[in-house]
Amino acid sequence: MDLHEISVQLQAGKARVVKTLVQQAIDEGIPAQEILEKGLLDGMSIIGEKFKNNEVFVPEVLIAARAMNQGVALLKPLLAEAGVKASGKVCIGTVQGDLHDIGKNLVKLMLEGKGLEVIDLGTDVSPETFVKMAVEQNCQIICCSALLTTTMGVMADVVKAAEAAGIRDKVKIMIGGAPVNQAFCDQIGADAYTSDAASAADMAVSLCG
């Protein structure tokens, strides 16, 4: 079958069709890695690009992501069997005091889409937890998200905590979220700010490279 059709249906957000097509591709004996890359990830990266260019908006991305997750669920056991290796490791979370995770989940999805392994620390994550997990899990990048102007300040504490733990030269810190911008990133001494999930994934890949 043509894996491009999976990509097209994913972009249109048709979760049930995507699921059916992925199963069909598996049944036809197409390797899981190929279905993932040429079907699901291809579709998601096109949505990501369009999102970056303001051609599509958050709901389309979330609806497409929902379709992707249903396809990935079918592929996961097969990918684990094949022992595919990640190109880098990232821990991600919404900072302490903040419970908003829609944006964080989108970035996580895009990072996974680029073949990175992502440790999801959830919401309301303390600076200490970010640093502790980065050390324990040997992550190259810490990604911090915040939606509130009242919680974005915690990102500065994450940078300080990384300095205090002596890992600042080993771990890159990326920040994102509605109230954050490049000026804020420079001010707190984080490594990178990106304005959308697709750009965040590109940035993470280049930082891991």
């Binding site: 957000g13 709901p59 995770d101």
Partner: protein, 493 residues
């Protein structure tokens, strides 16, 4: 060196003097000019466009991106002239409170007033406490909107040193509205007693209390009010809030609905920038709140506006064509919340929008130059998904199926004008409940009036608050799952 800024608005001008350089938004606030900054002055929403000439800063990146000068981004360097969009002086604010009985055990004094402090609007009713008659009604915009449109923005501003400013803004406006009521009634003095309701943040700002505890998780309010104090030179009763994001306005709305007095399963929903919900089942009131964003109030919608003259408030399909009605039958200037919901419902019916929210054409023309853009549909999807998912998770948590809900009460200004059929068609409200939905107007104000005219109601409000159990949606995986599901308009096949 002294410089002057001349401000034109509503066909009149004002002048404000300043020295050195000053942010335009600060000068407008100082001059008392109405200019909302929906995104809190971040330069990201593009809604505060103005025309400006004279000694001002060059357009920055945000302004170049928006293609207009933004009042929140401009620094005034010397003499300058700015023209602002007209303020919505004829904005229609919901003050209808439904049927009321006379005074039973009223609060003390000759006159008393009930005040609903909304995030966007204020509503006041003045009563003769001896007869229980309403003798004056007034409504206005909450002047704090100029600082930030949403509660979080205001909490941030209060923490950054603007607490006294925010408090002064709201008390000044209440004073003004009370004076308007007195003029209507032809009375010189009073009121002696007040009932002031509003969401938790509004009561913090009204009483000048530091809202730091409301600014971050676990969002634990260090007071929930619910008692008498002295405010504005009156004896003031503040009804109890239920938690940081389900405030006294909802406690009052629940009282006004009478839902806790009946042996039924009832759901109450106040749809606004925040959607607050309360579910009554077997003596427990399950409450929650969800952030819908300002789409239903017309903000963040390209052609969005409040309920002003010329706002498209009704849209329907006739012979396959979209038809519109505007407030005051004027030429269309924009679309308000109820019109927005109608328009999308009609476009789904005519298949101009598909179930994923995709629009085949570049835009959806409504009337004249007013048209909905693809991103407007997307903004509504985000907002309605937050409400619908919140409602579903609340019902699930309480173990209630839609079929067993006896009544759905819709409270608040937006809900008062809502076409329930359209709301169900776009999935904002459950289609199964359209036949069991009751629109109850500004129920927060109704509840406050009850508390003013009958002090026994204070106990009833305390009881409602004490029976409440908060259902937290923040970071709930179930909510996230439902949120994405409700992003769609109907089934995806």
């Amino acid at each position: 060196m002294m410089a002057e800024l001349v401000i034109f608005q509503n066909g009149a001008s004002k002048t404000v003097a300043f020295t050195g350089e000053e942010k335009l938004s600060v000068l407008l606030q100082r001059a008392g000019a109405y200019m909302p900054h929906p995104c809190g002055g971040h330069g990201s929403c593009g809604k505060c466009a103005v025309t400006v000439t004279g000694a001002v800063s060059e357009p920055n990146d945000n302004e170049r991106r928006a293609g207009v000068r933004l009042s929140c981004q401009i620094t005034v360097l010397g003499d300058a002239v700015v023209t602002l969009p007209d303020s919505p002086r004829d904005e229609q604010i919901e003050t209808e409170t439904g049927g009321l009985t006379g005074a039973l055990a009223p609060m003390p004094g000759q006159y008393g007033a009930a005040v609903d402090i909304g995030t966007t609007t204020l509503a006041v009713k003045l009563f003769d406490l001896k007869t229980g008659a309403c003798i004056g009604t007034a409504a206005g915009l909450n002047p704090q909107t100029a600082v930030a449109a949403d509660v979080m923005g205001r909490i941030g501003a209060a923490m950054a040193g603007s607490l006294r400013l925010l408090q002064g803004q709201v008390t000044d406006e209440i004073e003004r509205l009370l004076a308007e009521c007195r003029a209507q009634a032809g009375v010189a003095g009073g009121p002696e007693s007040l009932v002031l309701t509003g969401n938790t943040t509004m009561l913090y700002l009204l009483t000048g209390r530091d809202p730091e505890c409301l600014s971050h998780a676990p969002f634990h309010a260090d007071t929930l009010f619910g008692g008498e104090t002295a405010l504005l030179g009156c004896r003031a009763y503040l009804p109890p809030c239920m938690n940081a994001f389900v405030g006294a306005d909802i406690t009052c709305a629940v009282l006004a609905s009478g839902m806790c007095g009946k042996n039924e399963i009832a759901l109450l929903c106040d749809i606004g920038t925040n959607g607050e919900m309360a579910l009554w089942k077997d003596g427990t009131l399950y409450v929650t709140s969800t952030a819908a964003g300002p789409a239903f109030e017309g903000a963040g919608i390209s052609c969005g506006c409040g309920s002003v003259r010329g706002a498209i408030d009704r849209v329907w399909l006739e012979d396959g064509q979209l038809r519109v009605h505007t407030l005051g039958d004027a030429d269309a200037v924009g679309v308000c919340g109820s019109g927005l919901i109608d328009a999308i419902a009609a476009a789904l019916q005519s298949e101009q929008i598909d179930e994923t929210g995709f629009m085949e054409d570049d835009c959806l023309p409504l009337s004249g130059s007013v048209a909905l853009q693809p991103q407007d549909i997307r903004a509504v999807q985000l907002a309605k998904a937050a409400i619908a998912a919140g409602m579903e998770v609340l019902l699930e948590t309480a173990g209630v199926s839609l079929g067993s809900v006896d009544t759905l009460y819709i409270a608040g200004g937006f809900g008062s004008h809502l076409n329930v059929e359209s709301a169900a068609a776009i999935g904002l409200l459950p289609p199964a409940l359209t036949g069991r939905t009751r629109i109850i107007g500004n129920a927060a104000l109704s509840g406050a009036v009850q508390a003013l005219l009958d002090q026994n109601a204070h106990q009833a409000l305390d009881r409602i608050a004490s029976l409440s159990v908060h259902v937290n949606l923040g970071g709930s995986p179930r909510f996230n799952e439902k949120y994405v599901e409700h992003m769609l308009f109907g089934d995806d096949e």
